[in-house]
Symmetry: C2
Subunit: 422 residues, 2 copies
């Protein structure tokens, strides 16, 4: 924990989130992946800010990206490179997003990719890039390219925690997850890292996350698994409703683990366990991002049921999760369920006031269009006192359901975001 | 000003907003309108919380309401009563929204309307109601009905400021506006009051506002004028993106001013000056609501031009106005234009990164997809230092434009909303 605090201090952010995991998982080496981190001084001083991952030949890749109309240069680069299906290197920097940086931004991305390609002995299109940090400032790409050679020489199969730390911005702790599973009885491993922690909103792959496996799966299969897995995980979280220009989630499969039969389709039932393990890793990472939401003091889980359909349920759940009034009430440990009513009402989705049911934890506070007969203020307040708050809303008109997560809105968010650039 | 501070203190809210008007307009008596306020103890103690307005026979009415699917009982009541076109009384209470209160809520509203109708000598359907305050708690309607008789006896043509104060909740100052204009050369007057100041988002008539005129205009004409006037005023402001269950804007015309020719259509050119005056009053009141947004320290005007069409421009402008990251940056006096880029990108509207132009005040900070060549950090920062901040964004792809207003997001908002009920 000491090391994490040190990193948080160096990035100028606040104390480690009270919602941080009590311990961090130790990610095992993964055949076909070598890692290295360095301090390029992109923006931060005295901390690592570049991650280089090198993949063995034959590594397949899939990705999902922000839906922002002002996506960053690295997002454009990755989208184009994904067509080649093959990956040999990943370069990630923190401190500068290389977003809204025009032609210079594209050139900067290309320089980094060219440099990494020369070192890895591959095509530039086999290099994947991600940048996170300030938007609109030119990327000092030469600070990155000049250390890539050294990074490659120092790369090793260990260093997962260092990798997770190098990509942090306002994060207060490194985000890692690992799972061991099997494909047709053959052991495979999945390792993932992610970073938050502001400009987090769903309908995309939130911020940066990189997931690696030694399984032997083609890009098309990976893409289908990732597309499905991102929905109930990264696409079901929100910190502040602000969708980033840089959101990137990449999944790399080296095929260098235990040999297993070739799998051509994502629907192959031999992938069932792998799919479940991948989903667990994605959800674990996504929740770690919410738990480190800027200023977060509470993790809020919102379940909506009985909506017209699943899409309506999700929109209602997000209307609640993104409501500043709901989030500040929870921050103040006020079981102000009237604001849930408001958020359901403003979602625009079909709802019937007289069928609505709302619960905090196991305390039903409202039903049939009014305060519950057995309403107990003390019990309702108790349900919002803890670090984790569960809100359940039943719309009562259909079978649609959704679950999303968010965090509370606190003074910490204002502190962090009133002075992020300076 | 002393009196305002006293009211603010009594409501438990914070010091008067630094964006408050330097002085308050004195609203003149308006023929056909009598006002009275009282302290019913609905929720607050030691302050007025009920407004009774009585109208002369023949008064016509128009209204626009929240689009919330969980609208309050008074909103339901007003919508139904509007069909009758005629108004004889208005009863407004603060402290309790009578929203999500089920059948008891409807009964409470009906009790108040019946009581006011008996006093005014009219049908209950000629009584208009509005309630603002906590959602979900039963309305203690008898506290209101028992004082209505006294209020009617004490009513007078003065008392506009007292009326504006009685409807306040977390407002830190009363909101009033007045205009004198003419219809076909005959002098008419428009008086308006409003209240904010949280749960403010557009696409509706924000919160409560009541506008009165002595002009002689039929309900259908009033409705058309109001529907048009609300778009660039109340429907162009947002404090926190949270649409209330209670938003109500009513326009009453007593027809007791100077006699003017009958007007049958809103398009009648003899209404041009009246329309302009009404629009000014609506905009004045709407901006007063934003200036008193919970915790507001800065008024932010956002102009979007060059969008695909006006609707797209409005959605982009609101995406910027509702972004917590934009609002906290302005609160911190950080000209963080990268967050404007983000907000344009997340709006989902058509945009071309390489044509985007952004200015703070007269300082162009970004153009053609990157930081402006003449970018000057000091000048950009200066442009966000004042109490009023202007942000202009040109999308560069069409002719659509929109203007919206919001306020910054500060510690004050968190303070107010973490403990509103308690």
């Amino acid at each position: 924990m000491a090391k994490v605090k040190a990193v948080a201090k160096k990035t100028g952010s606040h104390a480690v989130s009270p919602l941080a995991p009590r311990s961090y998982p130790k990610l095992p080496p993964l055949a076909g992946v070598r890692l290295s981190t360095g301090a390029a001084g992109v923006r931060y001083k005295d901390r690592t800010d570049v991650l280089l991952a090198l993949f063995s030949p034959g590594t397949q890749v899939a990705g999902v990206f922000t839906k922002s109309k002002t996506a960053s240069a690295p997002v454009d680069w990755c989208r184009a490179s994904l067509a080649g299906k093959s990956a040999r290197a990943l370069v990630v920097n923190s401190g500068n997003a290389n977003a809204f940086t025009g032609k210079a931004g594209f050139e900067g991305a290309k320089q980094v990719a060219d440099s990494a390609a020369a070192i890895a002995g591959c095509r530039p299109g086999e290099v994947f890039l991600a940048s996170t940090g300030v938007i609109g400032e030119p990327l000092p790409h030469s600070r990155i390219t000049r250390i890539l050679g050294d990074l490659a020489e120092e790369s090793s199969a260990d260093g997962w925690r260092a990798a997770a730390e190098a990509i942090m911005t306002t994060d207060t702790y490194p985000k890692m997850a690992t799972a061991t599973t099997n494909i047709d009885g053959k052991r495979v491993t999945i390792n993932g890292i992610a970073k938050g922690s502001g400009m987090i909103a769903p309908d995309m792959a939130t911020m940066l996350s990189f997931v690696f496996t030694d399984a032997n799966l083609p890009s098309a299969v990976l893409q289908e698994l990732l597309g499905a897995g991102v929905k109930p995980s990264f696409n079901a979280i929100t910190v502040d409703s602000d969708t980033s220009t840089s959101d990137t989630l990449l999944l790399f499969a080296t095929g260098k683990g235990a040999a297993h039969p070739a799998i051509a389709k994502a629907s192959d039932r031999r992938l069932n366990e792998f799919r479940a393990a991948l989903d667990r890793v994605l959800l674990d990472l996504a929740l770690q991002v919410v738990r480190d939401g800027e200023g977060a003091q509470k993790l809020i889980q919102i379940d909506v049921s009985g909506a017209e359909n699943d899409e309506a349920a999700k929109r209602i759940a997000l209307s609640i999760a993104n409501s500043p009034l709901v989030k500040t009430a929870i921050a103040g440990e006020d079981a102000n369920w009237g604001r849930i009513v408001m958020a359901v009402g403003k979602s625009g989705e079909k709802a019937d006031r007289d069928r609505l049911k709302i619960a905090f934890g196991d305390q039903v506070v409202a039903e049939k269009g009014e305060r519950a007969a057995k309403y107990n203020e003390a019990a309702a307040t108790k349900a919002v006192k803890g670090r984790e708050v569960a809100i359940a809303v039943d719309i009562g008109i259909g079978k649609g359901k959704a679950r999303v997560w968010t965090c509370d809105l606190t003074h910490g968010y204002i502190d962090i975001n009133g002075s992020y650039r300076s």
